[in-house]
Amino acid sequence: MVRIKERYLLVNILYPSEIGVKPGVPDVVVINQPTTDKLTPQALLRGIRAEVGDTFGDFGSGALEGGGLQVKYLSNATSTFILRITRAQYRMLWTALTFMDHVPVRDGKPCTFRVVHVSGTIRKVEEAAIRHARNLMFAVKDQAGEKDKAALEAMFGQAKRTRQAAVVMPTPLNVEDDSGDEDMVDISDD
């Protein structure tokens, strides 16, 4: 049996142009802020198709049609999505993502698409997403912690705000569910 080889791209939407606009919020949180709810899988696909058509012309659009482009997962809260495409065309898709410079909705904010992980199976890409989100959480905690130290206890208000900002960043997929399950198992064992 011959199977169709595919590539799964894990992509993050980053918002670098707002660094330093809001004082008191860690940069990691600003860069990885949530995306507008107007971004649906359909809108995303439309944006990508337009960009591929722009860069590669009819050849690119046709290759993408034949490549079975699909949005497997889209989380606006974490600005993360997973795309699926046949292996032959994935570099073309990736290039289009690199060239995109705003969220593909009406009056979309300027942003950058960063491909975090490329893999052949969706399982691995899911693992990568979880790992990436976890690292992000640690980074946010680190930055918030630094600020806490600097601000001392007199500035409780600000410290709390950064904490809240950190909590706004939920992990994609089911990281928290996983850990919750483990806890439950532990308790039942006891």
Partner: protein, 356 residues
């Protein structure tokens, strides 16, 4: 280590924009960036107007181009990187000047610029300038040939001058930010020209000796390292060469320029001066261990001490640590060599040294 040797800077760039770009660049994973000042006409008394960042505070800005100040300034990139670790949100910031070669007086004034900036690059536009840059500009003068790929070159990149430049140690710079600058003001053919030029350059050099940088004027023109490598892979630069262009080649440029400013004639460099106490300790050790070899004692101690200091840096080719050791301390390799010689001299009979 990832390098981005070109963050465009002009007098109109504001500090907040620049901080934004630098912070984003650090969060994308770049460890060191260079602020680039494109100089069309070099003034007779050049100055360095680039802003300085907290990670650079301890190094003095040389106003007079004296040798001592030079040494202080570009003390060591690694040292700067240590300082940068204090503030992880900013990468190591270097200063770079790019001189347009259309101004012949400017090229002659590069040595003055070299004392003010960490890196100096040249930007040729015509064929004459290009071949001059490839074949005659010495590596001590400029180690980077920056090409504006968005303009149409009235000539082809031929392999011979390009490879001559690469084998002399010069590197070609390719700036991907120029293609991402597709605003309303940009020429619609810009991207096509850029791609065409890039493919020709890659064909001429076969992907060797290329440094990839962003030339980002705004923060939205920065992309992650993997994205950049993929982008160039689509246009014909193999992915491994692309990674080299972000890492090894760029580091080579930085280190080369550093050693040109710091070291003696760009060859000999003082990496670390041994502490006095340590050296005495070494001597004492030497006396204890090589008690039998009385003759070469002092020389051996000196030799071994030197070797230990130079050992970490042999890869750089400073050549200090490669001196043959005195007869007291014989390396295993040398012992083997001598043994082999003895074997050859005495034919098939096994000499006594066989035991040792």
């Amino acid at each position: 280590m990832l390098y981005d040797l070109n963050i465009a800077w002009s007098p109109s760039t504001t500090q907040s924009e620049l901080t934004q770009t630098l912070k984003f660049s650090a969060s994308l994973g770049y460890n060191a960036v260079a602020l680039n000042h494109l100089i069309e006409n070099v003034p007779p008394q050049p100055k360095n107007p680039l802003p300085r960042f907290p990670s650079q505070t301890s190094q003095s800005q040389p106003t007079k181009a004296s040798i001592g100040d030079n040494n202080n300034k570009s003390r060591n990139v690694e040292q700067k990187q240590d300082q940068a670790k204090d503030d992880p949100s900013l990468p190591t910031v270097l200063h770079r000047a790019t001189v347009c070669m259309s101004d012949p007086a400017g090229v002659q004034r590069i040595p003055q610029l070299a004392s003010l900036y960490d890196i100096v690059a040249v930007r040729p536009t015509t064929e004459k300038e290009f071949s001059h840059a490839c074949q005659e500009v010495r590596i001590e003068v400029a180690s980077l040939i920056s090409l504006d790929l968005t303009q149409r070159f009235p000539f082809h990149f031929r392999p011979k001058p390009c490879m001559a430049a690469v084998s002399r140690g010069l590197r070609f710079e390719v700036c991907y930010g120029q293609t991402l600058r597709s605003g309303a003001s940009a020429d619609p053919r810009t991207r096509a020209t850029w791609i065409g030029n890039l493919m020709e350059l890659v064909r001429a050099t076969r992907g060797r000796g290329i440094v990839i940088s962003s030339e980002a004027r705004r923060v939205t023109e920065l992309r992650g390292p993997a994205d950049v490598v993929n982008l160039l892979a689509v246009w014909g630069l193999p992915a491994d060469r692309g990674m080299e262009g972000l890492g090894v080649n760029a580091r080579g440029v930085v280190v080369n320029e550093g050693i040109n400013r710091r070291g003696y004639r760009g060859v000999v460099d003082i990496v670390q001066v041994a502490a006095r106490d340590d050296e005495e300790g070494d001597k004492m050790e030497g006396v204890e261990t090589t008690g039998e070899a009385q003759k070469g004692k002092a020389a051996a101690a000196g030799g071994s001490g030197k070797k230990r200091k130079g050992g970490a840096n042999e890869g750089r080719g400073s050549g200090i640590g490669n001196a043959p050791p005195a007869d007291g301390t014989m390396s295993k390799r040398q012992a083997k060599k001598l043994k082999k010689l003895a074997m050859e001299e005495s034919g098939t009979t096994t000499p006594e040294e066989n035991k040792s």
